[in-house]
């Protein structure tokens, strides 16, 4: 674009530039992306994978998005809400980031959602809290990973219709993510004629699942929704206790990043996830290769989630010509992103900024000596509302420890 300037206009514009922050013409000013992640404490494992995902993405792009260099600013929330708030303030007020990736945990996100909305900062989070894109939406929120129940609803469908299970016991950590996962499973499973006999909630940090394992009998299968490193511990103790029931799991329960740590006890577990490392798409192969090359491990949800966030930001900013000055335009463009190829396959967003994409049902197997996930069915275009009508869904209370109630 050629712009002709006469002297007066030039003087006027440079005078304006001297007193005002630099306007949009400064295309070489870096795009600033803030990453809220957890690098210390019990959640650090996932937090570090998040950082790996976004680092790999920026490396793939030579640190440039939409023609502008990218500056990544990382804040360690320490995995607690007050720390997340402080780091969000640091990123927004001091560093003036254009958008935020993260945070990881629901309570971290809930602590800052009002704050980031007040500062109109787009936030692309992995935290799965249902109400963030349902009953308490944030207009600047985008979630390419999905809600807690978004994987569990198809899993329940698969369990009832394909596996023909009639009754299950669920077991998951005693916190909101566990409740929401199992609530979603229960609603769909019971809707398809199944019966959830019991829901067990061991504490988040427990050394021993024995008292819970003793209660697992008399049903067709066990559904586990553990997160972090708990799936490893649970599956080990499950096998040691001699429980023979088939195991179904959610996204974090069968996370591909855990494959290197699982043993034979996990073989046969069926899990539903928005990301599967065996997806045969060019983008995913490229991503897995990059992760194996740079970090020596098969990527899971967290790394993939952040790589995908990078793709979303890129697609939106390219549409805007790299202009990030109008935050409302940025969030609009982010939510309008629709990709046909990504590590998680094709996806787009609903009007709450939550992803509509494929959910993969996988079986954990040993192939040529290595544990791998093999996709056995995929549910394309899965929304957070599953097949329910949105209005009806939102009128119901959010999934919780006691909702939906157990049928006796």
């Amino acid at each position: 674009m050629n712009v002709r300037l006469d002297r007066r206009a030039f003087l006027a514009s440079s005078a304006a530039a001297a007193t005002l922050p630099m306007p949009a013409i400064a295309q070489n000013k870096p795009i600033r992306i803030g990453l809220l992640t957890v690098k210390t404490g019990p959640l650090a494992q996932g937090g570090i994978q998040m950082e790996q995902g976004v680092t790999l993405f920026l490396k793939d792009r030579n640190n440039k998005i939409a023609g502008r260099p990218v500056e990544l600013l990382i804040g360690d929330t320490g995995g607690n809400p007050a720390g997340t708030k402080t780091k969000a303030q640091e990123l927004i007020e001091r560093d003036q980031v254009d958008m935020i990736f993260g945070p990881l945990a629901a309570f971290e996100l809930l602590a800052i959602t009002d704050y980031v909305a007040a500062h109109k900062t787009p936030i692309l989070s992995l935290a799965a809290a249902e109400d963030m894109s349902q009953r308490k939406p944030n207009p600047y929120f985008v979630r390419a990973s999905g809600t807690s129940a978004q994987n569990m609803q198809p899993l329940a469908d698969y369990a009832a219709k394909e596996l023909k299970y009639k009754s299950v016991i669920t077991i998951s950590e005693d916190f909101a993510y566990g409740y929401e996962q199992m609530g979603g499973f229960q609603r769909v499973f019971e809707g398809a004629g199944g019966h959830v006999v019991k829901k067990l909630w061991p504490p988040l940090v427990t050394p021993d699942y024995t008292p819970y394992l003793a209660q697992l009998s008399g049903v067709d299968a066990v559904v586990q929704g553990f997160a972090g490193s708990n799936p490893l511990k649970f599956m080990k103790q499950y096998a040691d206790a001699g429980v023979k029931l088939p195991v179904l799991g959610g996204g974090t329960a069968g996370d591909d990043a855990l494959l290197k740590s699982f043993g034979d006890e996990a073989i046969g577990m069926i899990s539903a996830s928005a990301y599967t490392s065996d997806l045969d798409s060019p983008m995913n192969q490229h991503f897995v290769e990059g992760m194996v090359r740079d970090y020596g491990s098969t990527p899971g949800l967290y790394a993939a989630g952040l790589y995908i966030n990078g793709l979303v930001a890129e697609a939106a900013l390219e549409k805007l010509g790299g202009n990030t000055d109008d935050k409302d335009a940025v969030i609009k463009a982010l939510r309008a992103v629709s990709l046909t190829d990504s590590p998680r396959g094709p996806f787009h967003f609903d009007h709450f900024g939550n992803v509509v994409g494929t959910v993969y049902i996988r079986r954990l197997e040993r192939k040529t000596g290595k544990l791998v996930q093999t996709t056995i069915k995929s549910y394309p275009n899965t929304s957070q509302f599953w097949t329910f009508e949105e209005k009806w869904f939102l009128e119901q209370p959010v999934y919780s420890r006691d909702y939906p109630p157990l049928k006796s």
């Binding site: 809400p81 007020e93 629901a106 909101a176």
Partner: protein
Amino acid sequence: MNRAALAIALLLLATLPFWIGNSFYVNVATQMLIYAIFALGLNVLVGYAGLVTLGHAALFGVAAYAGATLINSGHGHIIVAIGACLATLAVAAIFAVLALRGTGLGFVMITVALGQIAWGIAYRWISLTNGDNGVSINARPAPFGLSLESAPALYWATLVVFLVAVVAMAIFVASPFGASLRGARDQPRRMTALGYNVWLIRFLAFLFSGFWSGVAGLLYLYYNQFVSPQTVALSASAEALLMVIAGGTGTLLGPIAGAILVIVMKDIASAYIERWNFVLGAIFVLIVVFMPEGLVPGVVRLCRRVIAARRPRAPMPVLGEESGE
């Protein structure tokens, strides 16, 4: 000289939002003040009463939860403030009655247990506390029509409360009650023999300490507009205790210095040092090794030694005795 220093310090504090630059740092300063109030309150028990507690985050959290519940049910700022303080005092009274059955280790363990009960309630009484998703408030209240929404406004409001807290502490320490509390700490038997009710003295000190913890908790709520079970967790109690011990127990400035140290590490240094809690741990170890009495008394002692070394003929003063235990 002291007065001039005090005046300069006050002036600097009052004008901080103008010279510190970015509103992020104003917010950090607000957090320092909030935690300084919390640590000052805790110091009443730890320093002056000699009762180490690991359950004070519960009192801090009760005020925050009570405040959030009252705000969300539509009450005005006065009712919120009074209600939060009353709730804190009530819980502090229950804590005190139970915990003061023992001293020393017994007292510490009971406060740990009580703190864990508070955490359990915050985590599991979902209808009241919303579990681990926490409670948020939509807006900060506007006391007497003054909006606290901007960072400087909340800073100044917190500064006023902080100064009141410091003055209250200074009066408290100098008062006969403060003297009797220190007496109960050092010589409980002798105090009993003199006719003092040592239990009652400690009980009142617990309430006073709990009250300021609650005030800090309410400010924390106003600042974060969010409270969740992590606020009342054991680690939060331990962090506050570390502030007091690192800064110097039983001193007025110690807890303030400790709060500043921890917040600087947590909020500012953490942006530059990935292993910031390792560094913080190392600092604590250094403090314990070189200044076991705490940062403030330790620095005072070192300064006196330096001054004394520069004037070899002056008679040696008694070194740093008045603040140590």
